[in-house]
Symmetry: C2
Subunit: 296 residues, 2 copies
Amino acid sequence: MREKELISTIKQTLNSKYIGDDCAYLKDLGIVITQDSLVEDIHFKLEYTDAYKLGYKSAMVNISDICASGAEPAYMTVALSIPKNIDNIFVENFYKGLKDASKGIEIVGGDITGSDKLFISVTAIGKTAGRKISSRSNAQIGQAIIVSGEHGNSAEGLKKLLKNEPCPEKFLNAHLMPEAERKLSRLIAENIKEPYAMMDTSDGLADALSQIANSSGVKLCVSYDKIPHDECVDKETVLFGGEDYKLTATVPKSILPLLDDVSVIGTVEKGLGVELDGLLFTGNDIDEKIFNHFKG
Amino acid sequence: MREKELISTIKQTLNSKYIGDDCAYLKDLGIVITQDSLVEDIHFKLEYTDAYKLGYKSAMVNISDICASGAEPAYMTVALSIPKNIDNIFVENFYKGLKDASKGIEIVGGDITGSDKLFISVTAIGKTAGRKISSRSNAQIGQAIIVSGEHGNSAEGLKKLLKNEPCPEKFLNAHLMPEAERKLSRLIAENIKEPYAMMDTSDGLADALSQIANSSGVKLCVSYDKIPHDECVDKETVLFGGEDYKLTATVPKSILPLLDDVSVIGTVEKGLGVELDGLLFTGNDIDEKIFNHFKG
């Protein structure tokens, strides 16, 4: 919870209208921009990944933020700080992974410095021309709540890695080499007419739903059974496991026939909070409350 | 020299036309973009600075890169990674410093994460409308070589801090709270008609001159006596001390009457390398050669 407190301090100090969504929408320039960092031993451990996969994921988590806004990922800059024992081969493989994740995106700059631990900070820019840009505060009553993909796979992969258990490829890839939902994002943002909310599930599905409900001042009514997930993955992991980089959005029902491979998990209603299988959770800590409820 | 080797690896892997200048010029968007990081115990030590000054400098080094391109600094994102012992007050003061350095610039996003040491990575965007954008490969034969401000003051301040010697305010401020040359950059970029080279002196004046000479394929003839510096600061520090964040540029003589407070230190001539007081230095390591020459 410390992160939330710090973000509130930063918001107060800066008093900026831009801080709120994962991407800032700079209308005068026709772009969105996002910056996300990955820190060794906080966000990843080198014993579970390699330079190529790390580069791939570093790019993808930022591409996913751009996709959540509805913009087209276009440019990227990369700051890399490396300890002395990291060699040229590592840097080369890191950038190969970064490049392979960034199809159609130009990596245009950044810097490289020394450090005690690996530190990666990527900035991504998306173009907004021809797109309707989302905001987590834009959910409209009557819209369908949709999600893409399966939920909890990345966290399941991480769990098995940490326990040193054999791990099906599907979960391992979900964790180490996630894929952002570029096609779905484009389909929605190019075709939607009305305001809509869209987020990626980098911090988990329950978190995304809570943020949308509170920012938009609406009630999101969701059925757990409608959330696609692997049958091996438990409810807690499906709802709270982060880093799946799937999308959740609130969209008009009229757009649904255009969208492949999405699941409707509920509806936006009048009220406030997240109603999961008939149980209503409200407040600034909806996801914590849902979590505690299911933990018993 | 390891940084140069790594940058060459990155350039080869990415094969991008954008990597070269401190800012990447994205013509389709009408912007330049730059990203620079400051790492604790590599770029700064907390015993010599404080949260406010650190925020101020983190913004200013990126603003300076935008100024070196000739663009107008407009937006910034900030990634901050902090150890557990850093409190809310530190974060608040850091962002106050950042904000005070960023007059007329909107801080629009970023992220905050945990880490073992403080890590700061700032991305800045500049607008190019109405400006002619520089490149270090654009120096033209016959242009005057100009510099702003005094050189070596920041390194002199750092030297005194490290030796725990009493330090005049001027040197201390140059090191801890540098000022980017926003006004001079604007004057040049709004009025110049022909291609020109401009860099900030973040890595020292000799380095900037070497980069411009080699990238442009010209000879920069410079008189040491023309380089403004405090009489307390020795020749080595004036030429090689970094982090002054002054500008050096090659401009047509016709523009000089418009520019206040700049010094003409030489001329761009046919040939290759940097000629300092009649001594010619060439190759990929011009600044190293000049350094070794003066060290005797």
